[in-house]
């Protein structure tokens, strides 16, 4: 069979039937019945004619044909949809869907179908649904044509377009028509305007369509096509860039969340707090426990679970931090490398405690409804949970900045950091400032854990995966400077996401680590280095 001759025949049929003033009135029944004795070639032609009737009633029959559920009765060559029932078949009228009695197994014969026919059926159905009275169905059909254009559908699309009144559906159909025109044998002018339409449509899909026809397009159109492709590509690049920046900001805000508590315990206090990751982990587990309690006692509060978990996590991890500072760290001030060992020990104990209580497996932490879903912005998609995490990390950052700069506690804290003995002489209780600073840092890590429980697995190892990244962020940004942590986190996040597409996720991460190592050589004190005496202390 030559496809071309078939297409021409089909087109002829279609055009003929469309040319008729009321094409929908031609009766599909005899066409369907004709399928009984048709071979594959004839069936293909018949399918074209059936589709050309534009009668939506044929859809179930076409479906059944594709599924191999279409049979004809040997006695009178009438076609039915048949369902196996007991030893025989239940017959259904192909158009009305009414029951048409039973038939024994040997009284009916299956109408054979092959993959080529199935394809024809699919495209015929796409065309048929274009004429559906239901607006949503039409829109869907137009989008289906848009995704997989074929010249066979062109006339149907045009017919549907002529009748369409709804603005949005019409626009979609215009686009569907344009993509179909490109692969048809329409005139060059028509194709040129089609290219224009597709160019204005933009997006990855349009690019794919234009690229797929670039081999077969007429020479005269080559220039227009290439221009359109270039235009879409450059637009696409902009969106890709925007998407990368967005992903980068999103990763950066996760890094910021993980690192900001460390910016206090390590950056301000000089404690190499290896238990920091475990504070994040404790915060995530607090969320889990809060959600469990809510599930059992007040399921309708579930959407509020994160809001409730925030203060709980802050208090739990803050209290644990307080105990660690009073119990271990206060004996180690001035010996930063030894705080590393002791806090590493603390982290092992915390991990094992959580493992003993909750088990080593991942815990299920649910997303409240307002965190799921996404919305489109131009050529990119933004998920709500990423959006909320970015907002959340920024508000934590601002809140912390306000506490440090505006509150009495923040003032004491800065005084102790800058000159401990002088602060002590002024009546500041330095040991308690130390203890509460550490508790604050730990509490913030706990709050970060609440947010990270939404995007990561809650397991006893949760903290381990963040600890190195957190240290990198703080060291890169500059120790003792919250703004440095912010800039460090966001720039590392964006850098990572820009490297990822070209070198892959793991290699990208390795490159970032190497870049940080090199950067530290150049600026041993990070991006925003503290100047003056504090540096040598």
């Amino acid at each position: 069979m030559t496809l071309k001759s078939f297409l021409q025949a089909l087109l002829a049929c279609l055009i003929l039937s469309f040319a008729a003033p009321s094409f929908a009135q031609s009766d599909p029944k005899p066409l369907i019945d004709a399928l009984a004795k048709a071979d594959f070639n004839e069936a293909e032609k018949l399918l074209g004619q059936i589709a050309a009737t534009g009668d939506a009633r044929v859809v179930p029959a076409l479906n059944a044909f594709a599924e191999g559920d279409l049979y004809f009765r040997k006695s009178d060559n009438l076609v039915f949809i048949a369902k196996a029932a007991g030893s025989g078949f239940e017959l259904i009228d192909p158009l009305t869907g009414a029951a048409a009695g039973q038939a024994a197994k040997n009284a009916v014969t299956k109408i054979k179908v092959n993959n080529n026919l199935r394809r024809v059926i699919r495209s015929a159905m796409g065309g048929l649904t274009l004429l559906s009275p239901d607006r949503a169905v039409r829109l869907q059909a137009a989008e289906a044509v848009l995704r997989s254009p074929s010249p066979e559908n062109l006339d149907l699309v045009e017919a549907a377009l002529a009748k369409e009144t709804d603005g949005e559906v019409k626009a979609r159909m215009e686009e569907a028509r344009a993509v179909s025109v490109l692969s048809s044998d329409r005139s060059i002018d028509e194709k040129r305007s089609a290219i224009e339409t597709i160019k204005n449509l933009g997006g990855r899909n349009s690019l794919g369509i234009l690229n797929s026809v670039s081999g077969s397009i007429e020479v005269g159109l080559k220039g227009d096509l290439d221009a359109a492709i270039a235009s879409i590509e450059s637009e696409q690049q902009l969106w890709d860039m925007a998407q990368n920046v967005w992903y980068g900001l999103s990763l950066g805000s996760v890094l910021l969340l993980a690192a900001i508590g460390l910016a206090i315990t390590f950056g301000v206090m000089g404690i190499i707090n290896m238990a920091h990751g475990e504070m994040v982990m404790l915060g995530a587990y607090s969320t889990f426990v809060v959600q469990e309690v809510i599930r059992d006692n007040a399921p309708n509060l579930f959407d509020w679970s994160l809001a409730i978990a925030l203060p709980v996590a802050f208090l739990v991890t803050g209290a644990v931090g307080l105990v660690i500072e009073r119990g271990v760290i206060r004996f180690l001030y001035g010996r930063p490398l030894e705080t590393l060992l002791a806090t590493w020990g603390v982290s092992l104990i915390l991990q094992q405690t959580i493992r003993s209580i909750f088990g080593p497996t991942n815990q299920e932490v649910g997303n409240p409804s307002w965190m799921s879903g996404s919305f489109p912005v131009g050529g990119m998609t933004i998920t709500w949970n990423r959006m909320w995490i970015i907002l959340f990390s920024m508000s934590i950052f601002v809140a912390l900045l306000v506490v440090l700069k505006k509150s009495a506690f923040g003032l004491n804290m800065r005084a102790v950091t800058q000159n401990r003995r002088m602060a002590s002489s002024m009546g500041i209780k330095t040991p308690w400032v130390d203890a509460f600073t550490f508790a604050l840092g730990s509490g913030i890590a706990g709050i970060a854990g609440v947010a990270l429980s939404q995007i990561d697995n809650v397991s006893p190892n949760l903290g381990q995966s963040y600890i190195i990244d957190s240290f990198m962020v703080v060291v890169f940004g500059g120790v003792g400077n919250l703004w440095g942590t912010l800039v460090g986190a966001l720039s590392l996040g964006v850098l990572n996401k820009f490297l990822e597409p070209s070198v892959g996720a793991v290699l990208g991460k390795i490159l970032v680590l190497v870049l940080i190592i090199l950067f530290i050589q150049k600026r041993p004190r990070g991006l925003f280095a503290l100047k003056g005496r504090a540096v040598e202390a």
């Binding site: 030894e338 590393l340 002791a342 020990g345 982290s347 104990i349 094992q352 381990q464 990198m472």
Partner: protein, 389 residues
């Protein structure tokens, strides 16, 4: 001058430690191979391998102590040098498998056949030759340490910052070695070794010899380390640790001193890794995990940093404890290890050996003070002797 270098290394305690190690190197294989299995003196082969593993860890801890205890560089990436040495040895052992692998390819190791690789990557060439592989055990970690140290020490990255970037280094290497297309077996690493220099790795005799080699290498490295720290260079080294700026102002090139020590230490770690792999039978990227390197720091701290035999004792004790606990009470081990970290930093900042030594010194000082009480004229030489310590 060379002989002076050697003789200074032979301080009393080092001589004892070396003698013990050499004795162990002879005795343990002898007891393993020459006594009948039911004899009370028999040491089973698994124990020989286990002790051999401890000795490799001890060598790694010694290497770390050289930079941390004597030069003040807390490296959180020594596990990387250890693993690189291990990989170099692993690559030699992989090449020795030849056509006995699952896929029977005479050139390509199994995992390359599995990944559909057609020919050996360039960096695998030469590893079928033992001498070359052994050279790489020293060169690769040494080179990495040299490049890393060259940049880091020249730009005066020190203290906490240095610790954190060494950690980043081993972390980056871990991520890299986990990748299949690196050509080092990815996730699974290198394993299924058959023989080393023609002797089957699993055989009792080979294991006994590997054990003896570990003990001898440890003794040798102890001597080298002792020679370094007791030389004039060693005095400067301690000076760098305690007052880096002053040493620099005195005209020493601090960065070169640090670099030399760092490279020597990395090579020792590489040797430890190379001895470790045939005894354990596998090397995989998990050895690069930052947690491993931190554990090495703990062994060193427990034994006593700034003493040469401290880390050896610490590594053996902590690992023996680990073997015992993970066997008997697996859930308690992390509590015990965590508690040990905290207890050592809080109560034994000088470690076991350092604390014992301190007690010893203060007793000596008390005796000296008592002597000084008796006759004032004798006091002068005593203080001079003490100052020379």
């Amino acid at each position: 001058m060379i002989s002076g270098f050697v003789f200074r290394a032979l301080d009393g305690r080092i001589v004892v430690a070396v003698a013990i190690l050499l004795g162990v190197a002879l005795l343990v294989p002898a007891l393993n191979l020459m006594t009948p299995p039911d004899s009370a003196l028999h040491i089973p082969t698994y124990a020989v391998s286990l002790f051999g593993k401890y000795l490799c860890y001890a060598l790694l801890a010694l290497a770390l102590d050289l930079v941390w205890g004597y030069c003040g560089i807390l490296s959180l990436g020594h596990g990387a040098f250890f693993a690189l040495g291990g990989y170099a040895m692993g690559m030699y052992l992989m090449r020795q498998i030849g056509s006995r692998g699952v896929y029977g390819n005479p050139i390509l190791p199994d995992f390359m056949v599995f990944l559909n690789w057609k020919e050996l990557p360039w960096f695998w060439h030469g590893f079928d030759w033992f001498v070359f592989a052994m050279a790489m055990v020293l060169v690769v970690p040494g080179l990495l340490a040299f490049v890393f140290g060259w940049f880091a020490f020249r730009s005066r990255v020190n203290g906490v910052y240095l610790s954190i970037i060494t950690q980043a280094m081993t972390y980056a290497l871990m991520l890299a070695f986990f990748r299949n297309d690196m050509g080092f077996g990815g996730n699974n690493g290198l394993t299924d070794f058959k023989d080393i220099l023609g002797f089957p790795v699993q055989a009792d005799g080979t294991r006994a010899v590997l054990f003896a080699m570990s003990a001898i290498m440890l003794a040798l490295c102890l001597l080298v380390a002792s020679a370094i720290v007791r030389s004039k260079f060693g005095k400067v080294l301690v000076g760098v640790r305690d007052a880096e700026s002053r040493v620099r102002f005195l005209g020493f090139r601090v960065e070169n001193i640090k670099l030399f020590t760092f490279v020597v230490s990395a090579m020792m770690a590489g040797i430890a890794g190379a001895l470790f792999v045939p005894q354990v039978g596998i090397i995989n990227p998990g050895e690069f995990a930052p947690a491993n390197s931190i554990e090495v720091v703990v062994w060193t701290a427990v034994g006593g940093r700034g003493t040469l035999i401290g880390p050896v004792i610490g590594a053996v004790l902590v690992n023996a404890g680990k073997s015992f606990f993970t066997g008997a009470f697996p859930e308690i081990w992390l509590y015990a290890l965590g508690g040990l970290f905290i207890a050592v930093t809080l109560f034994l900042p000088k470690g076991i050996v350092g604390t014992v030594q301190q007690g010893w010194n203060s007793r000596k000082a008390m005796k000296a003070a008592a002597e000084a009480e008796k006759g004032r004229d004798e006091a002068v030489p005593v203080t001079q002797a003490q100052a020379a310590e």
